[in-house]
Amino acid sequence: MFFLNQALFIPSAFVASHTCTFSSLFNKKNQFPNFPIPKFQNYPMSVLIFVDHAEGHIKKASFEALSYGAKLAEQLGTSAEALVLGTVTDDLAALGKYGVKKVHQVSSDTLNHVDSQLYAKVIAEAVTATGANVVVFSQNQTGKAVAANVAARLKAGIVTGACALPDTSNGFVVRKTVFSGKAFANVSINSPVKVISLNINSYKTVVGEGTAEVAALNVAVDASKIKITAVNKIIGEVPLTEADIVVSGGRGLKGPENWGVLLDLAKELNAGTACSRPVGDANWRPHHEHVGQTGVQIAPNLYIALGISGAIQHLAGVNRSKVIVVINKDPEAPFFKAADYGIVGDLFEVVPKLTEEIKKMKVSA
Protein backbone atom coordinates (compact mmCIF):
# COMPACT_ATOMS: atom_id res chain seq x y z
CA MET A 1 0.00 0.00 0.00
CA PHE A 2 2.43 2.53 -1.28
CA PHE A 3 -0.15 5.30 -1.33
CA LEU A 4 -1.37 4.92 2.24
CA ASN A 5 2.09 4.65 3.74
CA GLN A 6 3.24 7.74 1.94
CA ALA A 7 0.14 9.71 2.78
CA LEU A 8 0.74 9.37 6.48
CA PHE A 9 4.05 11.14 6.19
CA ILE A 10 2.71 14.39 4.78
CA PRO A 11 4.38 17.40 6.40
CA SER A 12 1.96 18.98 8.84
CA ALA A 13 2.23 22.42 7.21
CA PHE A 14 0.94 20.91 4.03
CA VAL A 15 -1.97 19.19 5.69
CA ALA A 16 -3.09 22.39 7.36
CA SER A 17 -3.70 23.98 4.00
CA HIS A 18 -6.13 21.21 3.20
CA THR A 19 -8.62 21.63 5.99
CA CYS A 20 -11.00 23.25 3.49
CA THR A 21 -11.14 19.89 1.74
CA PHE A 22 -12.81 18.36 4.71
CA SER A 23 -15.31 21.00 5.54
CA SER A 24 -16.49 20.86 1.95
CA LEU A 25 -16.87 17.13 2.33
CA PHE A 26 -19.48 17.50 5.01
CA ASN A 27 -21.22 20.63 3.81
CA LYS A 28 -22.08 19.26 0.41
CA LYS A 29 -24.59 16.61 -0.30
CA ASN A 30 -22.42 13.59 -0.95
CA GLN A 31 -22.83 10.12 -2.33
CA PHE A 32 -22.37 8.37 0.98
CA PRO A 33 -24.89 9.63 3.56
CA ASN A 34 -23.33 7.48 6.27
CA PHE A 35 -19.80 8.36 5.33
CA PRO A 36 -17.84 7.85 8.56
CA ILE A 37 -15.88 10.75 9.96
CA PRO A 38 -12.29 9.81 9.22
CA LYS A 39 -10.16 8.96 12.23
CA PHE A 40 -7.34 11.07 10.88
CA GLN A 41 -8.96 14.46 10.48
CA ASN A 42 -5.86 15.63 8.65
CA TYR A 43 -6.08 12.94 6.02
CA PRO A 44 -7.00 14.79 2.84
CA MET A 45 -8.64 13.44 -0.28
CA SER A 46 -9.22 15.13 -3.55
CA VAL A 47 -9.34 14.88 -7.31
CA LEU A 48 -6.08 16.03 -8.89
CA ILE A 49 -6.18 17.25 -12.48
CA PHE A 50 -3.01 17.34 -14.54
CA VAL A 51 -2.85 20.57 -16.55
CA ASP A 52 -0.92 20.43 -19.81
CA HIS A 53 0.65 23.41 -21.52
CA ALA A 54 2.75 24.28 -24.54
CA GLU A 55 4.51 27.53 -25.39
CA GLY A 56 3.52 28.89 -21.98
CA HIS A 57 -0.19 28.44 -22.64
CA ILE A 58 -2.58 25.96 -21.12
CA LYS A 59 -4.01 23.50 -23.63
CA LYS A 60 -7.70 23.61 -24.46
CA ALA A 61 -7.94 19.91 -23.63
CA SER A 62 -6.85 20.72 -20.07
CA PHE A 63 -9.88 23.00 -19.58
CA GLU A 64 -12.06 20.02 -20.42
CA ALA A 65 -10.11 17.86 -17.95
CA LEU A 66 -10.42 20.55 -15.27
CA SER A 67 -14.19 20.85 -15.78
CA TYR A 68 -14.53 17.07 -15.71
CA GLY A 69 -12.39 16.72 -12.58
CA ALA A 70 -14.26 19.51 -10.78
CA LYS A 71 -17.61 17.89 -11.54
CA LEU A 72 -16.30 14.50 -10.42
CA ALA A 73 -15.05 16.03 -7.14
CA GLU A 74 -18.51 17.51 -6.58
CA GLN A 75 -20.04 14.11 -7.27
CA LEU A 76 -17.67 12.50 -4.72
CA GLY A 77 -18.16 15.27 -2.18
CA THR A 78 -14.51 16.23 -2.23
CA SER A 79 -12.48 19.04 -3.74
CA ALA A 80 -10.65 19.42 -7.03
CA GLU A 81 -7.08 20.62 -7.32
CA ALA A 82 -4.83 21.10 -10.31
CA LEU A 83 -1.21 20.25 -10.96
CA VAL A 84 1.05 22.17 -13.35
CA LEU A 85 4.58 20.99 -14.17
CA GLY A 86 7.05 23.48 -15.59
CA THR A 87 6.56 27.18 -16.24
CA VAL A 88 3.62 28.94 -17.91
CA THR A 89 2.80 32.54 -18.82
CA ASP A 90 -0.97 32.08 -18.35
CA ASP A 91 -2.50 33.15 -15.05
CA LEU A 92 -2.85 29.98 -13.00
CA ALA A 93 -5.15 31.56 -10.41
CA ALA A 94 -7.69 31.92 -13.23
CA LEU A 95 -8.00 28.12 -13.34
CA GLY A 96 -10.40 28.65 -10.42
CA LYS A 97 -12.99 29.44 -13.12
CA TYR A 98 -13.00 25.75 -14.02
CA GLY A 99 -13.80 24.67 -10.49
CA VAL A 100 -10.43 23.98 -8.86
CA LYS A 101 -9.67 25.45 -5.44
CA LYS A 102 -5.94 25.10 -5.59
CA VAL A 103 -3.25 24.87 -8.24
CA HIS A 104 -0.01 23.13 -7.32
CA GLN A 105 2.96 24.04 -9.46
CA VAL A 106 6.34 22.39 -9.72
CA SER A 107 8.19 25.13 -11.60
CA SER A 108 11.27 23.47 -12.95
CA ASP A 109 12.51 24.29 -16.46
CA THR A 110 13.42 20.62 -16.87
CA LEU A 111 9.69 19.90 -16.84
CA ASN A 112 8.98 22.12 -19.84
CA HIS A 113 9.84 19.05 -21.91
CA VAL A 114 7.80 15.93 -21.43
CA ASP A 115 9.96 13.11 -20.11
CA SER A 116 7.58 10.32 -19.11
CA GLN A 117 9.83 8.94 -16.40
CA LEU A 118 10.44 12.32 -14.72
CA TYR A 119 6.83 13.40 -15.09
CA ALA A 120 5.57 10.15 -13.59
CA LYS A 121 7.85 10.49 -10.59
CA VAL A 122 6.86 14.12 -9.95
CA ILE A 123 3.13 13.54 -10.53
CA ALA A 124 3.13 10.45 -8.30
CA GLU A 125 4.78 12.44 -5.53
CA ALA A 126 2.23 15.23 -5.98
CA VAL A 127 -0.60 12.70 -5.78
CA THR A 128 0.80 11.35 -2.54
CA ALA A 129 1.43 14.82 -1.12
CA THR A 130 -2.06 16.07 -1.93
CA GLY A 131 -3.71 12.84 -0.89
CA ALA A 132 -5.59 12.67 -4.17
CA ASN A 133 -7.38 9.44 -4.89
CA VAL A 134 -8.42 10.25 -8.45
CA VAL A 135 -6.00 11.66 -11.01
CA VAL A 136 -7.40 13.09 -14.25
CA PHE A 137 -5.42 13.56 -17.46
CA SER A 138 -6.45 14.64 -20.90
CA GLN A 139 -5.85 11.90 -23.47
CA ASN A 140 -3.69 14.11 -25.68
CA GLN A 141 -0.11 13.35 -26.68
CA THR A 142 1.14 14.35 -23.23
CA GLY A 143 -1.51 12.29 -21.47
CA LYS A 144 -0.60 9.31 -23.65
CA ALA A 145 3.05 9.81 -22.70
CA VAL A 146 2.52 10.07 -18.96
CA ALA A 147 -0.78 8.74 -17.55
CA ALA A 148 0.11 5.03 -17.75
CA ASN A 149 3.49 5.60 -16.11
CA VAL A 150 1.79 7.42 -13.25
CA ALA A 151 -0.75 4.61 -12.87
CA ALA A 152 1.99 1.97 -12.75
CA ARG A 153 3.94 3.98 -10.20
CA LEU A 154 0.92 4.45 -7.93
CA LYS A 155 -0.39 0.95 -8.60
CA ALA A 156 -3.60 2.64 -9.68
CA GLY A 157 -6.15 1.18 -12.07
CA ILE A 158 -6.34 3.29 -15.22
CA VAL A 159 -9.02 3.98 -17.80
CA THR A 160 -7.76 5.82 -20.87
CA GLY A 161 -10.08 7.30 -23.48
CA ALA A 162 -12.79 8.05 -20.90
CA CYS A 163 -15.83 9.74 -22.43
CA ALA A 164 -18.19 10.34 -19.48
CA LEU A 165 -18.16 11.00 -15.77
CA PRO A 166 -17.71 7.85 -13.68
CA ASP A 167 -20.79 6.13 -12.31
CA THR A 168 -20.08 6.11 -8.58
CA SER A 169 -23.46 4.79 -7.47
CA ASN A 170 -22.04 1.30 -7.04
CA GLY A 171 -18.26 1.28 -7.22
CA PHE A 172 -16.39 3.41 -9.72
CA VAL A 173 -17.26 2.66 -13.34
CA VAL A 174 -15.85 4.71 -16.19
CA ARG A 175 -17.16 4.68 -19.74
CA LYS A 176 -14.52 4.63 -22.45
CA THR A 177 -14.37 4.26 -26.20
CA VAL A 178 -13.11 0.93 -27.52
CA PHE A 179 -12.66 -0.63 -30.96
CA SER A 180 -11.47 2.73 -32.27
CA GLY A 181 -14.72 4.50 -31.44
CA LYS A 182 -16.99 1.74 -32.74
CA ALA A 183 -18.17 0.81 -29.21
CA PHE A 184 -18.00 1.75 -25.55
CA ALA A 185 -16.85 -0.26 -22.53
CA ASN A 186 -17.87 0.42 -18.96
CA VAL A 187 -14.80 -0.30 -16.89
CA SER A 188 -14.69 -0.66 -13.13
CA ILE A 189 -11.58 0.63 -11.38
CA ASN A 190 -11.01 -1.41 -8.25
CA SER A 191 -7.85 0.12 -6.77
CA PRO A 192 -7.77 2.81 -4.01
CA VAL A 193 -6.13 5.35 -6.33
CA LYS A 194 -7.67 5.77 -9.77
CA VAL A 195 -6.32 7.31 -12.97
CA ILE A 196 -8.61 8.57 -15.72
CA SER A 197 -7.44 9.89 -19.08
CA LEU A 198 -10.25 11.85 -20.73
CA ASN A 199 -10.83 11.80 -24.48
CA ILE A 200 -10.44 15.18 -26.15
CA ASN A 201 -13.73 16.91 -27.09
CA SER A 202 -15.85 14.51 -25.08
CA TYR A 203 -16.59 16.65 -22.02
CA LYS A 204 -17.85 20.20 -22.31
CA THR A 205 -15.75 22.89 -20.67
CA VAL A 206 -17.69 24.64 -17.90
CA VAL A 207 -16.56 28.18 -17.09
CA GLY A 208 -17.76 29.76 -13.84
CA GLU A 209 -16.42 32.21 -11.31
CA GLY A 210 -13.55 31.78 -8.91
CA THR A 211 -9.88 32.21 -8.27
CA ALA A 212 -7.61 29.37 -7.30
CA GLU A 213 -4.86 29.53 -4.76
CA VAL A 214 -1.53 28.90 -6.49
CA ALA A 215 1.02 27.07 -4.38
CA ALA A 216 4.53 25.95 -5.19
CA LEU A 217 5.05 22.26 -4.64
CA ASN A 218 8.59 21.30 -3.80
CA VAL A 219 9.45 18.03 -5.43
CA ALA A 220 12.98 17.04 -6.35
CA VAL A 221 13.34 16.83 -10.14
CA ASP A 222 16.06 14.53 -11.49
CA ALA A 223 18.04 15.28 -14.64
CA SER A 224 16.32 14.04 -17.79
CA LYS A 225 17.79 11.01 -19.54
CA ILE A 226 16.23 12.23 -22.77
CA LYS A 227 18.24 14.78 -24.74
CA ILE A 228 16.06 16.87 -27.05
CA THR A 229 18.03 17.75 -30.18
CA ALA A 230 15.29 19.39 -32.28
CA VAL A 231 11.70 20.59 -31.93
CA ASN A 232 9.58 21.05 -35.03
CA LYS A 233 6.39 22.94 -34.32
CA ILE A 234 3.58 22.99 -36.81
CA ILE A 235 3.04 26.71 -37.17
CA GLY A 236 -0.03 28.58 -38.37
CA GLU A 237 -2.43 25.66 -38.40
CA VAL A 238 -5.23 24.71 -36.06
CA PRO A 239 -3.94 21.54 -34.32
CA LEU A 240 -6.08 18.68 -35.62
CA THR A 241 -6.85 17.06 -32.30
CA GLU A 242 -7.96 20.38 -30.81
CA ALA A 243 -9.96 21.73 -33.74
CA ASP A 244 -13.71 22.23 -33.26
CA ILE A 245 -14.22 21.87 -36.98
CA VAL A 246 -12.17 19.75 -39.38
CA VAL A 247 -12.36 19.84 -43.17
CA SER A 248 -10.88 16.75 -44.77
CA GLY A 249 -10.10 15.77 -48.35
CA GLY A 250 -9.78 12.46 -50.15
CA ARG A 251 -8.91 11.14 -53.59
CA GLY A 252 -11.97 12.92 -54.94
CA LEU A 253 -9.91 16.11 -55.01
CA LYS A 254 -7.85 14.46 -57.76
CA GLY A 255 -4.51 16.09 -56.90
CA PRO A 256 -2.63 18.34 -54.48
CA GLU A 257 -3.04 21.32 -56.83
CA ASN A 258 -6.80 21.27 -56.18
CA TRP A 259 -6.61 21.77 -52.40
CA GLY A 260 -7.46 25.47 -52.70
CA VAL A 261 -11.23 24.88 -52.47
CA LEU A 262 -10.76 22.90 -49.28
CA LEU A 263 -8.36 25.41 -47.70
CA ASP A 264 -10.72 28.31 -48.50
CA LEU A 265 -13.57 26.53 -46.73
CA ALA A 266 -11.32 25.63 -43.77
CA LYS A 267 -10.14 29.22 -43.48
CA GLU A 268 -13.71 30.53 -43.47
CA LEU A 269 -14.62 28.08 -40.67
CA ASN A 270 -11.32 28.45 -38.77
CA ALA A 271 -11.10 24.70 -39.19
CA GLY A 272 -8.25 22.22 -39.02
CA THR A 273 -7.43 20.39 -42.25
CA ALA A 274 -7.10 16.65 -42.61
CA CYS A 275 -6.90 14.02 -45.32
CA SER A 276 -7.56 10.35 -45.98
CA ARG A 277 -4.84 7.72 -46.02
CA PRO A 278 -4.38 7.48 -49.83
CA VAL A 279 -3.87 11.24 -49.92
CA GLY A 280 -1.23 11.08 -47.17
CA ASP A 281 0.47 8.06 -48.76
CA ALA A 282 0.63 9.86 -52.14
CA ASN A 283 2.23 12.84 -50.38
CA TRP A 284 -0.49 15.19 -51.66
CA ARG A 285 -0.71 16.41 -48.08
CA PRO A 286 1.65 16.14 -45.06
CA HIS A 287 1.49 12.88 -43.10
CA HIS A 288 0.33 14.55 -39.90
CA GLU A 289 -2.97 15.39 -41.62
CA HIS A 290 -3.86 11.72 -42.14
CA VAL A 291 -6.89 10.80 -40.05
CA GLY A 292 -8.08 7.23 -39.72
CA GLN A 293 -7.40 3.94 -37.99
CA THR A 294 -3.62 4.21 -38.42
CA GLY A 295 -3.42 7.99 -38.54
CA VAL A 296 -4.73 10.62 -36.15
CA GLN A 297 -8.02 9.91 -34.38
CA ILE A 298 -10.14 12.99 -33.94
CA ALA A 299 -13.47 13.94 -32.39
CA PRO A 300 -14.39 17.46 -33.55
CA ASN A 301 -17.85 18.99 -33.28
CA LEU A 302 -18.08 19.08 -37.05
CA TYR A 303 -16.26 16.94 -39.60
CA ILE A 304 -16.67 17.82 -43.27
CA ALA A 305 -15.47 15.11 -45.67
CA LEU A 306 -14.82 16.12 -49.26
CA GLY A 307 -14.34 13.38 -51.84
CA ILE A 308 -13.73 10.66 -49.23
CA SER A 309 -15.54 7.35 -49.80
CA GLY A 310 -15.51 6.43 -46.09
CA ALA A 311 -13.72 3.09 -45.81
CA ILE A 312 -14.11 1.48 -42.39
CA GLN A 313 -10.49 2.33 -41.51
CA HIS A 314 -11.16 6.00 -42.21
CA LEU A 315 -14.36 5.96 -40.14
CA ALA A 316 -12.40 4.53 -37.19
CA GLY A 317 -10.50 7.80 -37.03
CA VAL A 318 -13.46 10.16 -37.25
CA ASN A 319 -16.55 8.34 -35.96
CA ARG A 320 -16.45 10.20 -32.64
CA SER A 321 -17.16 13.49 -34.47
CA LYS A 322 -20.46 14.99 -33.27
CA VAL A 323 -21.73 16.04 -36.70
CA ILE A 324 -20.49 14.58 -39.99
CA VAL A 325 -21.08 16.20 -43.37
CA VAL A 326 -20.19 14.26 -46.51
CA ILE A 327 -19.85 15.78 -49.96
CA ASN A 328 -19.24 13.17 -52.63
CA LYS A 329 -20.39 12.70 -56.21
CA ASP A 330 -20.89 8.96 -55.69
CA PRO A 331 -24.28 8.37 -54.02
CA GLU A 332 -23.10 4.83 -53.13
CA ALA A 333 -20.13 6.11 -51.08
CA PRO A 334 -20.30 4.22 -47.74
CA PHE A 335 -19.55 7.44 -45.87
CA PHE A 336 -23.16 8.63 -46.41
CA LYS A 337 -24.31 5.85 -44.05
CA ALA A 338 -22.23 7.34 -41.23
CA ALA A 339 -23.08 10.96 -42.05
CA ASP A 340 -25.60 13.36 -40.56
CA TYR A 341 -25.81 15.60 -43.60
CA GLY A 342 -24.78 14.98 -47.16
CA ILE A 343 -24.67 16.44 -50.62
CA VAL A 344 -24.37 14.16 -53.62
CA GLY A 345 -22.58 16.34 -56.11
CA ASP A 346 -19.35 17.57 -57.64
CA LEU A 347 -17.28 18.97 -54.79
CA PHE A 348 -15.54 21.45 -57.10
CA GLU A 349 -18.92 23.11 -57.66
CA VAL A 350 -20.46 22.57 -54.23
CA VAL A 351 -17.56 23.57 -51.94
CA PRO A 352 -16.98 27.13 -53.30
CA LYS A 353 -20.75 27.72 -52.94
CA LEU A 354 -20.59 26.40 -49.39
CA THR A 355 -17.74 28.76 -48.55
CA GLU A 356 -19.75 31.70 -50.00
CA GLU A 357 -22.88 30.76 -48.04
CA ILE A 358 -20.91 30.55 -44.78
CA LYS A 359 -19.45 33.98 -45.49
CA LYS A 360 -22.97 35.32 -45.99
CA MET A 361 -24.19 33.70 -42.79
CA LYS A 362 -21.35 35.22 -40.80
CA VAL A 363 -22.14 38.69 -42.19
CA SER A 364 -25.82 38.44 -41.32
CA ALA A 365 -25.17 36.94 -37.87
Partner: protein, 247 residues
Protein backbone atom coordinates in the same frame (compact mmCIF):
# COMPACT_ATOMS: atom_id res chain seq x y z
CA UNK B 1 21.66 -6.71 -28.78
CA UNK B 2 18.25 -8.03 -27.75
CA UNK B 3 15.02 -6.35 -28.75
CA UNK B 4 11.73 -7.34 -27.12
CA UNK B 5 8.71 -6.65 -29.31
CA UNK B 6 5.32 -6.78 -27.57
CA UNK B 7 2.55 -8.12 -29.78
CA UNK B 8 -1.14 -8.41 -29.18
CA UNK B 9 -3.92 -10.32 -30.93
CA UNK B 10 -6.73 -8.06 -32.19
CA UNK B 11 -9.74 -8.45 -34.49
CA UNK B 12 -9.11 -7.45 -38.10
CA UNK B 13 -9.81 -3.76 -38.78
CA UNK B 14 -12.87 -4.62 -40.88
CA UNK B 15 -14.47 -6.90 -38.22
CA UNK B 16 -18.08 -6.41 -37.30
CA UNK B 17 -18.17 -5.21 -33.70
CA UNK B 18 -20.85 -7.03 -31.68
CA UNK B 19 -21.17 -8.38 -28.15
CA UNK B 20 -22.62 -11.49 -26.50
CA UNK B 21 -23.37 -12.79 -23.00
CA UNK B 22 -25.50 -9.79 -22.06
CA UNK B 23 -23.06 -7.36 -23.66
CA UNK B 24 -20.16 -8.51 -21.48
CA UNK B 25 -18.11 -10.32 -24.13
CA UNK B 26 -16.85 -9.43 -27.59
CA UNK B 27 -18.61 -11.60 -30.17
CA UNK B 28 -15.80 -13.59 -31.77
CA UNK B 29 -18.04 -15.37 -34.28
CA UNK B 30 -16.57 -15.04 -37.76
CA UNK B 31 -13.81 -12.72 -36.59
CA UNK B 32 -10.45 -12.86 -38.33
CA UNK B 33 -7.59 -12.31 -35.86
CA UNK B 34 -4.51 -10.33 -36.73
CA UNK B 35 -1.39 -8.96 -35.04
CA UNK B 36 -2.34 -5.53 -33.71
CA UNK B 37 -1.33 -3.29 -36.67
CA UNK B 38 0.70 -0.88 -34.52
CA UNK B 39 2.68 -3.82 -33.08
CA UNK B 40 3.22 -5.42 -36.48
CA UNK B 41 3.64 -2.65 -39.05
CA UNK B 42 5.63 -0.30 -36.87
CA UNK B 43 7.37 -2.03 -33.91
CA UNK B 44 8.10 -5.42 -35.39
CA UNK B 45 8.97 -4.31 -38.91
CA UNK B 46 11.26 -1.57 -37.57
CA UNK B 47 13.01 -4.16 -35.36
CA UNK B 48 13.45 -6.37 -38.44
CA UNK B 49 14.93 -3.45 -40.39
CA UNK B 50 17.41 -2.80 -37.55
CA UNK B 51 18.38 -6.48 -37.57
CA UNK B 52 18.93 -6.38 -41.32
CA UNK B 53 21.55 -3.68 -40.74
CA UNK B 54 23.10 -5.33 -37.68
CA UNK B 55 23.10 -9.13 -37.67
CA UNK B 56 24.01 -9.25 -33.98
CA UNK B 57 20.47 -8.14 -33.10
CA UNK B 58 17.99 -10.79 -31.97
CA UNK B 59 14.25 -10.13 -31.96
CA UNK B 60 12.22 -11.63 -29.13
CA UNK B 61 8.45 -11.52 -29.19
CA UNK B 62 6.14 -11.50 -26.22
CA UNK B 63 2.40 -11.76 -26.00
CA UNK B 64 0.09 -12.17 -23.02
CA UNK B 65 -2.73 -14.45 -24.06
CA UNK B 66 -4.09 -17.96 -24.36
CA UNK B 67 -3.25 -20.62 -26.95
CA UNK B 68 -5.49 -18.92 -29.53
CA UNK B 69 -2.70 -16.31 -29.85
CA UNK B 70 -0.29 -18.86 -31.31
CA UNK B 71 -1.25 -18.25 -34.98
CA UNK B 72 -0.45 -14.54 -34.75
CA UNK B 73 2.82 -15.30 -32.94
CA UNK B 74 3.77 -17.71 -35.74
CA UNK B 75 3.01 -14.96 -38.23
CA UNK B 76 5.24 -12.54 -36.30
CA UNK B 77 7.98 -15.19 -36.32
CA UNK B 78 7.44 -15.63 -40.06
CA UNK B 79 7.90 -11.91 -40.59
CA UNK B 80 11.28 -12.04 -38.85
CA UNK B 81 11.08 -12.57 -35.08
CA UNK B 82 13.71 -15.01 -33.76
CA UNK B 83 11.89 -16.46 -30.80
CA UNK B 84 8.73 -15.88 -28.80
CA UNK B 85 7.35 -16.11 -25.31
CA UNK B 86 3.64 -16.40 -24.62
CA UNK B 87 2.52 -15.69 -21.07
CA UNK B 88 -0.45 -18.01 -20.68
CA UNK B 89 -3.03 -15.61 -19.23
CA UNK B 90 -6.15 -13.82 -20.39
CA UNK B 91 -6.71 -10.30 -19.10
CA UNK B 92 -8.13 -6.96 -20.15
CA UNK B 93 -6.36 -5.08 -17.33
CA UNK B 94 -3.36 -3.11 -18.52
CA UNK B 95 -1.62 -3.26 -15.13
CA UNK B 96 -1.81 -7.06 -15.06
CA UNK B 97 -0.61 -7.40 -18.65
CA UNK B 98 2.24 -4.91 -18.16
CA UNK B 99 3.30 -6.73 -14.98
CA UNK B 100 3.61 -9.98 -16.97
CA UNK B 101 5.71 -8.32 -19.67
CA UNK B 102 7.84 -6.57 -17.05
CA UNK B 103 8.47 -9.87 -15.29
CA UNK B 104 9.81 -11.41 -18.51
CA UNK B 105 11.70 -8.22 -19.39
CA UNK B 106 13.49 -8.11 -16.02
CA UNK B 107 14.88 -11.60 -16.55
CA UNK B 108 15.63 -11.25 -20.25
CA UNK B 109 18.15 -8.40 -20.24
CA UNK B 110 16.65 -6.61 -23.25
CA UNK B 111 18.27 -3.46 -24.59
CA UNK B 112 15.13 -2.18 -26.26
CA UNK B 113 11.44 -2.87 -25.69
CA UNK B 114 9.02 -1.87 -28.46
CA UNK B 115 5.22 -1.66 -28.27
CA UNK B 116 2.58 -0.33 -30.64
CA UNK B 117 1.08 2.99 -29.59
CA UNK B 118 -2.19 1.24 -28.73
CA UNK B 119 -4.20 -1.85 -29.61
CA UNK B 120 -7.07 -1.33 -31.99
CA UNK B 121 -9.54 -3.16 -29.73
CA UNK B 122 -9.16 -1.70 -26.22
CA UNK B 123 -7.30 1.45 -27.32
CA UNK B 124 -5.52 1.53 -23.98
CA UNK B 125 -2.13 3.00 -25.00
CA UNK B 126 -0.88 2.05 -21.54
CA UNK B 127 1.36 -1.00 -21.80
CA UNK B 128 4.57 0.75 -22.95
CA UNK B 129 4.49 3.37 -20.20
CA UNK B 130 3.60 0.87 -17.51
CA UNK B 131 6.32 -1.60 -18.51
CA UNK B 132 8.86 1.24 -18.62
CA UNK B 133 7.91 2.24 -15.10
CA UNK B 134 8.01 -1.33 -13.82
CA UNK B 135 11.47 -2.05 -15.25
CA UNK B 136 12.68 1.52 -14.55
CA UNK B 137 13.65 2.48 -18.10
CA UNK B 138 13.10 5.77 -19.95
CA UNK B 139 9.98 5.77 -22.12
CA UNK B 140 9.45 7.54 -25.42
CA UNK B 141 5.87 7.47 -26.64
CA UNK B 142 4.31 7.92 -30.09
CA UNK B 143 7.55 7.50 -32.03
CA UNK B 144 7.41 8.10 -35.79
CA UNK B 145 11.12 7.48 -36.54
CA UNK B 146 13.72 5.38 -34.75
CA UNK B 147 17.41 4.85 -35.39
CA UNK B 148 20.27 3.28 -33.49
CA UNK B 149 23.87 4.35 -33.34
CA UNK B 150 25.68 1.98 -31.01
CA UNK B 151 23.75 2.20 -27.76
CA UNK B 152 22.23 5.60 -28.50
CA UNK B 153 18.77 5.79 -30.02
CA UNK B 154 17.63 8.78 -32.06
CA UNK B 155 13.86 9.05 -31.96
CA UNK B 156 11.36 11.40 -33.53
CA UNK B 157 8.15 11.50 -31.58
CA UNK B 158 4.82 13.25 -31.91
CA UNK B 159 4.09 15.81 -29.22
CA UNK B 160 1.48 18.52 -28.68
CA UNK B 161 1.64 20.86 -31.68
CA UNK B 162 4.47 19.22 -33.56
CA UNK B 163 7.32 16.76 -33.17
CA UNK B 164 10.49 16.42 -31.20
CA UNK B 165 13.80 14.69 -31.97
CA UNK B 166 15.44 13.11 -28.95
CA UNK B 167 18.56 11.11 -28.15
CA UNK B 168 18.34 8.48 -25.44
CA UNK B 169 20.76 5.81 -24.27
CA UNK B 170 19.61 2.21 -24.14
CA UNK B 171 17.95 0.45 -22.41
CA UNK B 172 14.70 2.05 -23.37
CA UNK B 173 10.97 1.47 -24.00
CA UNK B 174 9.39 3.00 -27.13
CA UNK B 175 5.78 3.06 -28.35
CA UNK B 176 5.59 3.08 -32.14
CA UNK B 177 3.19 4.52 -34.69
CA UNK B 178 2.93 5.40 -38.38
CA UNK B 179 6.19 6.51 -39.94
CA UNK B 180 8.45 3.96 -38.22
CA UNK B 181 8.23 1.38 -40.99
CA UNK B 182 5.96 0.04 -43.71
CA UNK B 183 3.82 -3.08 -43.61
CA UNK B 184 5.46 -6.29 -44.90
CA UNK B 185 4.08 -9.60 -46.03
CA UNK B 186 5.83 -12.76 -44.78
CA UNK B 187 7.49 -14.79 -47.54
CA UNK B 188 7.35 -18.58 -47.92
CA UNK B 189 10.84 -19.03 -46.47
CA UNK B 190 9.83 -17.06 -43.40
CA UNK B 191 6.63 -19.04 -42.98
CA UNK B 192 8.53 -22.35 -43.20
CA UNK B 193 11.21 -21.15 -40.77
CA UNK B 194 8.61 -19.90 -38.29
CA UNK B 195 7.33 -23.44 -37.73
CA UNK B 196 10.52 -24.45 -35.95
CA UNK B 197 11.39 -21.21 -34.19
CA UNK B 198 11.10 -21.46 -30.39
CA UNK B 199 7.75 -20.46 -28.87
CA UNK B 200 8.00 -20.78 -25.13
CA UNK B 201 4.81 -20.80 -23.04
CA UNK B 202 5.22 -19.56 -19.48
CA UNK B 203 2.66 -19.37 -16.70
CA UNK B 204 1.80 -15.87 -15.44
CA UNK B 205 3.50 -14.30 -12.44
CA UNK B 206 1.36 -13.20 -9.50
CA UNK B 207 0.03 -9.71 -10.25
CA UNK B 208 -3.00 -7.64 -9.27
CA UNK B 209 -5.87 -6.88 -11.61
CA UNK B 210 -6.93 -3.31 -10.98
CA UNK B 211 -9.74 -2.87 -13.51
CA UNK B 212 -12.49 -5.03 -14.97
CA UNK B 213 -14.88 -4.57 -17.86
CA UNK B 214 -18.46 -4.45 -16.59
CA UNK B 215 -20.20 -4.22 -19.97
CA UNK B 216 -19.93 -3.11 -23.57
CA UNK B 217 -22.29 -0.89 -25.53
CA UNK B 218 -22.69 -0.02 -29.17
CA UNK B 219 -23.23 3.64 -30.00
CA UNK B 220 -26.81 4.59 -30.87
CA UNK B 221 -27.46 4.14 -34.57
CA UNK B 222 -27.25 7.31 -36.66
CA UNK B 223 -30.65 8.70 -37.51
CA UNK B 224 -29.73 8.51 -41.18
CA UNK B 225 -28.21 11.05 -43.47
CA UNK B 226 -30.18 14.17 -44.44
CA UNK B 227 -29.41 14.78 -48.08
CA UNK B 228 -29.40 18.32 -49.40
CA UNK B 229 -29.57 19.19 -53.10
CA UNK B 230 -26.28 20.44 -54.61
CA UNK B 231 -28.29 23.39 -55.94
CA UNK B 232 -29.33 24.42 -52.45
CA UNK B 233 -26.11 24.71 -50.49
CA UNK B 234 -27.65 27.52 -48.41
CA UNK B 235 -29.98 24.92 -46.90
CA UNK B 236 -26.99 22.89 -45.66
CA UNK B 237 -25.54 26.00 -44.00
CA UNK B 238 -28.93 26.71 -42.39
CA UNK B 239 -29.18 23.12 -41.05
CA UNK B 240 -25.62 23.20 -39.69
CA UNK B 241 -26.28 26.53 -38.03
CA UNK B 242 -29.83 26.15 -36.73
CA UNK B 243 -30.40 22.42 -36.34
CA UNK B 244 -26.97 20.93 -35.62
CA UNK B 245 -25.61 24.14 -34.07
CA UNK B 246 -22.23 23.10 -35.42
CA UNK B 247 -21.29 26.43 -37.05
Amino acid sequence: MKILVCVSKTPDTTSKIAFTAGNTKFDEAGVQWIINPYDEWYSLVRAIELKEKDASITIHLITVGLADCDPIIRKALALGGDEAIRVNADSSDSYYIAAQIAEVAKRGGYDLILTGKETIDYNGSSIGGMVAEMVDMPYVSLATLFDLNGTTATITREMEGGEEVAEVSLPLVVSCQKGMAEQRIPNMRGIMAARTKPLQVVEPAAADTLTSIVSFELPPAKAGVKLVSPDNVAELVRLLHEEAKAI
